[in-house]
């Protein structure tokens, strides 16, 4: 049982058992193999026969030149041969990877050695291969015995990274790989035996793939890794072998050691996205298992209506008196979004699955050696990102009736940069928000376009109002196909045209019902034994701070409003016309807003506007002529 279970408040989660069938939404603790893991050099079980062991645990595992090119990979087993590189050519010497648990041998880079002859042995390898440049023709060697290119005793990989195409090749005999062979760590176990007749078996991630009568080169003293010309190479994590043929149980111990050390993604909880038949080939690590098991919440749950989000800008206002201020932006990630993700109508089994997922999120692998754990890659509801990284922070579970559950997860997004011109949360995806072109296949009121321009003031997002804004009669814009089922927008009607149908301004109208409160900023003087005396606090003493609501808006208008606010990033200034009876155009910024997706074409948005008393466009420039007289 994995230690991660200690972080769960959910009972009855067991290690994966390939002999069992599972139902959709079942949860397993995947461990590759049930049972213990054993360190290769552990001798508590008796003499293991460990002959060679290479990995990248310590810098002293390598001999290097002055440029940290590897000239030798030291064998951890004393008095056993190292893997060496005698050539002075930098092209064949691999580099030490200081921050990774592996070394990469790419292109012509290779390490080799002698003294590795055995007729019986069990080899364990943990490797991750990059995709070859020519998957149809390039075979990449993982290991090779024998000094010649042909014949040799080798394990190679070939083909595309899909089931029935990815192949493991022992000598010249191909076998279908059961797990992805590229861009994924694999444990390859080779069991070489010479009695009663020579055999060589291969296991991939604990599952036997095939068996051959091995080439005699497998008994050779010469051993080589790498040397795959023209390819990006193979990451070697761990390589060790024992003399003799180990028992099935011992093999399981050492495979599990590799699994626990290097398979951080696969180690832990998986969730069934459909009913799973019994059989080892359906375990998560294999091609067939990918159709049944997932760690991706988007594969098994969708959000329900009622999901909402709050955006808030982290600003440090600098007040300068007389109602003037400037907003200091705290770094490039000014805007944080807190989502309330609603999953309603869940059965008890679904609720168990989702709660376990939530509770297990801190077990995600770290983003890097220097950062915390990865957030949850989330396909948010429209119009937000489909690949947002969220941190699940709290959960509310409500059970209103037997087998009916509502779960609301509060999740925070931290890493979306405000300097990404393509958008933070409401992104330019060339489908919903497009780069502006003068010929479009359709155009609707509130469509959003990104307008490219060398001119800073013209560049940015524009909103199609459906009206000719500058025409005295407010005539409508183009509404139907003109030629070839396309609509042509004339230059004068373009975003920067003299009769533009587009705007960069906040043109959305709030609800009929609204509240506006005003607080006069006063300066008070309290005299002892007398009344308080009020004075006006300079000029601009009636700066407004108010909310505007946009209830029950269509998805189209909602996307447009949210894109506008997203583009302003919580601190940029824009104009807003106050409603009746004020009717005044003021400068505001919007540091906070909420959005709730009630139903299809029914969205509530509430925005907080703060009046900004300063010119929204620069009117003063540094234009002083300084003369140095002496």
């Amino acid at each position: 049982m994995s230690s991660i279970i200690s972080g769960l408040n959910i009972k009855n989660i067991f290690e994966y058992d390939p002999l069992l069938a599972y139902d959709k939404f079942d949860i397993i603790d995947y461990q590759l193999i049930t049972g213990i893991s054993v360190y290769p050099s552990y001798t508590g079980l008796g003499n293991t026969g460990l002959c060679s062991w290479f990995n990248n645990d310590n810098l002293e595992d390598f001999k290097t030149d002055g440029n940290f090119n590897i000239t030798g990979w030291k064998n951890k087993v004393i008095n056993s041969g190292d893997l060496l590189q005698f050539s002075e050519d930098d092209n064949v010497r691999p580099n030490v990877q200081f921050n990774e648990p592996y070394i990469t041998l790419k292109n012509l880079e290779l390490l080799s050695g002698t003294g590795f002859e055995h007729t019986k042995r069990t080899i364990f390898l943990a490797v991750n291969s990059s995709e070859p440049n020519k998957p149809k023709t390039d075979n990449q060697k993982i290991i090779k015995f024998g000094p010649l290119d042909s014949p040799n005793g080798s394990l190679q990989i070939s083909g595309k990274n899909s089931y029935f195409d990815a192949q493991l090749i022992l000598d010249s005999t191909p076998f279908n790989a059961k797990s992805p062979i590229y861009n994924a760590i694999n444990i390859f176990t080779l069991i070489q035996n010479d009695s009663p007749s020579p055999t060589l078996k291969i296991r991939q991630n604990g599952l036997q793939i095939g068996q051959i009568v091995p080439n005699a080169q497998w008994n050779s003293s010469y051993f080589e890794i790498g040397n795959n010309p023209g390819n990006n190479g193979i990451n070697y994590y761990d390589l060790f072998y024992f003399s003799g043929v180990l028992s099935e149980t011992e093999i399981d111990y050492y495979e599990k050691y590799l699994f626990e050390k290097y398979f951080s993604y696969f180690d832990g909880l998986f969730f069934a996205k459909q009913d799973v038949p019994a059989g080892e080939q359906y375990s998560p690590i294999f091609f067939e298992g990918e159709d049944y098991w997932t760690k991706n919440i988007n594969d098994i749950f969708k959000f329900n209506y009622g999901s909402s989000v709050n955006f808030a800008a982290k600003l440090s206002p600098l007040n300068m008196g007389d109602g003037y201020k400037t907003n200091i932006v705290n770094g490039i990630n000014t805007l944080t979004a807190t989502f309330n993700l609603v999953y309603d109508g869940l059965t008890d089994k679904q609720a168990k699955c989702l709660i376990a997922f939530f509770e297990n999120t801190p077990e995600a692998p770290d983003k890097s050696l220097y950062e915390g754990f990865q957030g949850v890659s989330t396909n948010l509801f429209a119009p937000y990102k489909t690949n947002a990284e969220l941190y699940f922070k709290s959960i509310n579970h409500n059970s209103s009736y037997n087998n009916i559950n509502k779960i609301t997860i509060e999740a925070e997004s931290l890493y979306d940069s405000a300097i990404d011109h393509k958008g933070m949360f409401v992104v330019l995806d060339e489908k919903n928000i497009k780069t502006y072109e003068s010929v479009v296949s359709s155009i609707l009121t509130n469509d959003v376009f990104y307008f490219e321009s060398d001119n800073f003031f013209n560049r940015g997002y524009y909103f199609y109002t459906g009206l000719n804004l500058n025409a005295s009669n407010g005539s409508s814009g183009p509404s139907g196909p003109s030629t070839n089922n396309k609509i042509t927008i004339l230059p004068e009607n373009s975003p920067t045209g003299v009769n533009s149908f587009f705007t960069k301004n906040f043109y959305f109208k709030g609800d009929l019902e609204y509240d506006i409160n005003e607080n006069i900023r006063l300066f008070s003087t309290e005299m002892k034994n007398s009344t308080i005396e009020y004075s006006k606090d300079g000029i601009n003493y009636n700066n407004l701070e108010f909310k505007v609501s946009f209830k029950k808006r269509t998805n189209q208008e909602t996307k447009s409003i949210l894109k506008f606010l997203d583009d302003k990033a919580g601190f940029k200034i824009f104009y807003y016309t106050l409603p009746q009876p004020y009717n005044k155009l003021i400068s505001v910024y919007c540091p906070e807003w909420d959005h709730t997706y009630n139903f299809y074409d029914n969205n509530d948005i509430s925005v907080k506007f703060i009046e900004f008393k300063a010119p929204s466009e620069p009117v003063a420039y540094f234009n002083t002529d300084i003369q140095f007289l002496s």
């Binding site: 009855n12 109508g345 609800d511």
Partner: protein, 264 residues
């Protein structure tokens, strides 16, 4: 085709099974709100939820009830229905009732919710050949031989008629961007029995009066078609006396149907 469709018989089907319906009612309801802007103008009418369809059908009981009409059971699955040329995919049962009176045929009334699209243009008259080839049912439940037994109710006399109803709420759950639910659950499952009798015994106490009843529906020849059980509490007693009539007492027995959770 004439402007008005006429039906001599209603071909009503649950799945692939014919039922002898005396009436069918189909409805659809949208919930919208006007969106008014701060300049006084009307923006549009916004939907508050999905179009919820209603379907009610009265049919003769010609055999035991199909499992999908066990309203208070665990099965939440929808069933396809069709009548008069129109097919509705996925209707969700929410109530079933019937009345048993002496010598009267027993008509089952069932109500359903449905979501999604229905091709109303498919409404069609029944063809003459279909009408002529319609099979006559072997059994029709009738009050003549049907009966109710009561136990644990003190003092109930001769029951002259009774009404049975079982129902539940069917909340619908929607994924974002969808207007057809991914689940229509069942909750608040209850069954009710109203009886009319010449006497009901003592007046009920603050916690009602415990009652266990069994209803047996039979055809006129005594063939048993279905059984219903209400094991609940009698919460209501009425006595009516009018000039020239017998004293008639009525009572209502209500049962809340629980579901014991299965440990997972």
């Amino acid at each position: 085709m004439s402007n008005f469709l006429s039906y001599q018989n209603i071909d009503f089907r649950f799945g692939d099974q014919n039922y002898y319906a005396s009436s069918v009612s189909l409805s659809a309801q949208a919930s919208v709100d006007a969106v008014l802007l701060n300049d006084g103008s009307l923006l549009n009418y916004a939907p508050n939820g999905a179009v919820v369809g209603g379907l009610s059908v009265d049919f003769y009981l010609t055999g035991s009830l199909p499992s999908f009409l066990q309203i208070t059971g665990l099965n939440e699955s929808p069933i396809d229905v069709s009548f008069a040329g129109v097919k509705i995919n996925q209707v969700y049962s929410k109530s079933l009732s019937f009345s048993v009176e002496p010598f009267q045929p027993i008509i089952i009334s069932a109500e359903f919710d449905w979501y999604g699209n229905v091709l109303l243009e498919d409404f069609n008259e029944q063809s003459k050949s279909t009408l002529q080839n319609k099979l006559i049912p072997d059994y029709i439940a009738n009050g003549y031989k049907s009966f109710i037994t009561t136990s644990d109710i003190e003092g109930v006399g001769f029951i002259v008629s009774f009404d049975y109803n079982m129902s539940c709420d069917r909340p619908a759950y929607f994924n974002v961007d969808e207007v057809v639910p991914f689940r229509v659950a069942k909750l608040n499952k209850t069954s009710e029995l109203s009886i009319k009798s010449n006497s009901l015994g003592k007046i009920l106490s603050i916690d009602g009066k415990s009652a266990i009843t069994n209803i047996t529906l039979k055809d006129t020849y005594g063939i048993s078609l279905d059984l219903f059980k209400v094991s609940g509490v009698l919460t209501n007693q009425n006595y009516e006396i009018s000039e020239g009539q017998y004293l008639l007492a009525s009572a209502k027995i209500t049962q809340t149907i629980p579901e014991t959770k299965t440990l997972i």
